[in-house]
């Protein structure tokens, strides 16, 4: 399955000196700076759009109101400290625990198999490629399911004692295998993004393979791939919600199922925990963007920065995919 085509993995640095036009007018490929008539037309469109959007918001609010979703008693639980300390915060801790453990393991997995795919030996390169492509192609949900219920069945069939797989373990291993495979591709792309002259120079001064990798390629690649790695953490954090299917006590389970069922306020509960997820993920997203800007400006690395935009992550176009 290996050897797919790589799509856009790196971006040429954007030219810095783009002539500034009018102070607030953003340069767009689609629109020229508006004249009087265009400004008038834009204002009319703004008005019409605002009316339509308000109409949509009104329809949603009316529907929720009709179903009595704005009653105070549905929202009161979220003003109660106990709901937070007993359900939501422990759930959040569960989500963060799974995310952090899986992130660390996935990073190790990614480094091992990413470097494995770059190995000079075919007997390292091929299995690494098969593993990385394979785990990227299997839906994560199937993987978590099998890791959760497979080992006990198989151990039983083979007359072996096998400790029960906890939901935590199943989710962590599933997330590690899938995201580790994606990270392996990022590591590979990051090292490929270091100009060849760097390793040639390193070999020329007498370094060996390990030294070239450790002292020259990896440090520069790290700066280049950090934004993409942080972006992948957003995916990992979101996927941790799949713990729902093996009843892992995470933010989704505690906030949506437990709180929602206890207080009969499914929709308010969904809105509150959605907000928490969005805040966490947007914070990570901004961190990725900031790192990208910093890395592009940095002159410590000769590698071109991998974009934090998940659409530009390395894809072999086979089993991978964002989202």
């Amino acid at each position: 399955m290996g050897g797919g085509t790589m799509t856009v993995t790196t971006e040429a640095p954007t030219p810095k000196a783009r002539p500034a036009r009018k102070s607030k007018q953003q340069v767009s490929v689609l629109f020229d700076a508006p004249g009087p008539r265009a400004r008038l037309r834009n204002n009319v469109i703004t008005l019409v759009a605002a009316v339509i959007l308000l109409g949509i918001v009104y329809a949603i609010v009316a529907r929720l109101n009709e179903a009595d979703q704005f009653q105070g008693k549905l929202w009161e639980p979220f003003l109660d400290g106990k709901v937070w300390t007993e359900f939501i915060l422990p759930g959040l801790v569960g989500t963060l625990k799974v995310t952090v453990v899986a992130a660390v393991l996935a990073m190790l997995f990614g480094i091992v198999f990413g470097l494995g795919r770059l190995s000079d030996h075919w007997w390292v390169r091929w299995p690494s490629a098969a593993i990385v492509e394979g785990f990227r192609a299997i839906p994560l949900l199937l993987l978590i399911f099998f890791i959760f219920s497979g080992p006990p069945t198989i151990a039983n069939g083979l007359n072996r004692e096998f400790p029960e797989v906890t939901a935590f373990t199943a989710v962590v291993i599933g997330l590690t295998l899938y995201n580790g495979s994606v990270l392996a591709e990022i590591v590979r792309a990051g090292i490929n993004a270091v100009p060849r002259g760097q390793s040639e120079a390193a070999y020329a001064v007498g370094l060996r393979k390990g030294g070239v990798m450790r002292l020259v390629l990896l440090p520069q690649a790290t700066t280049a791939m950090l934004p993409a790695i942080v972006s992948q953490m957003v995916v990992l954090l979101k996927d941790s919600a799949l713990g729902w299917i093996v009843a892992y006590e995470d933010l989704l389970n505690a906030g949506f199922r437990v709180v929602g069922a206890n207080y009969g306020n499914l929709i308010p509960a969904a809105i509150v925990i959605t907000l928490i997820y969005i805040l966490l993920n947007m914070a990570l997203g901004y961190l990725a963007q900031w790192l990208e800007g910093r890395s592009r400006r940095s002159r410590k690395s000769a590698a071109t920065t991998l974009s934090a935009d998940p659409n530009k992550l390395p894809e072999s176009g086979l089993g991978g995919g964002v989202a």
């Binding site: 099998f146 198989i154 659409n311």
Partner: protein, 229 residues
Amino acid sequence: MNWNVLFDFSPLVDEFDKILGAFWSTIRLSLMTGVLALILGTILAGMRVSPTPVLRAAGTFYVNTLRNTPLTLVLLFCSLALSDTLGLKLSNVSTVNFYWLAVFGLSAYTAAFVCEALRSGINTVPVGQAEAARAIGLTFTQSLRMVVLPQAFRAVIAPLGSITIAMMKNTTVVLVASYLEAAALMKDMFEEYGATLPIFLGFAAGFMILTLPTGFLFGWAAKRWAVAR
């Protein structure tokens, strides 16, 4: 010793009809979601690049919300909140109702990614192209139709391909929204036959049979229509 747990592929053969049916459900989900997500994503991308601040803000809000919410939550919201609490009914037949709720959730989620892919596609077109188009006297629609969009569409084939593949894999999450597709059948078969390796491998292979050709198709198309710059 019961080696069946590692090597017995017969459950896959016995239940072949059911498995085909389940994957057919997956395909139907994917196709409908693909079409709807493309339409909604295009509208959103249009909003996000428009010169109208209100539309831009609304598009940004939508994308940031849906892109940062776990799909599990989106689908649970569709099946539990929309259907049960708000009583939204898309059909009187229960399975059809759940199909549309699942498609609705999946498309709403995927559209955010489609929108971002299209938008970054438009951003790959150098400003000079549009300026040159204006300079030779093309109107707004002409420059859009003849210069900007052809280049933008060709740049987004590869990202749309990976979004499609991700979406096909994401149809498994529909399991939480009570619509029977491949993942739900695997769960049922785990309960019936035990969670054996061959069953898992069979379903994993089923998804690869769907995603690999899709990947090759998009990869081929992206190369075939790559913009030479």
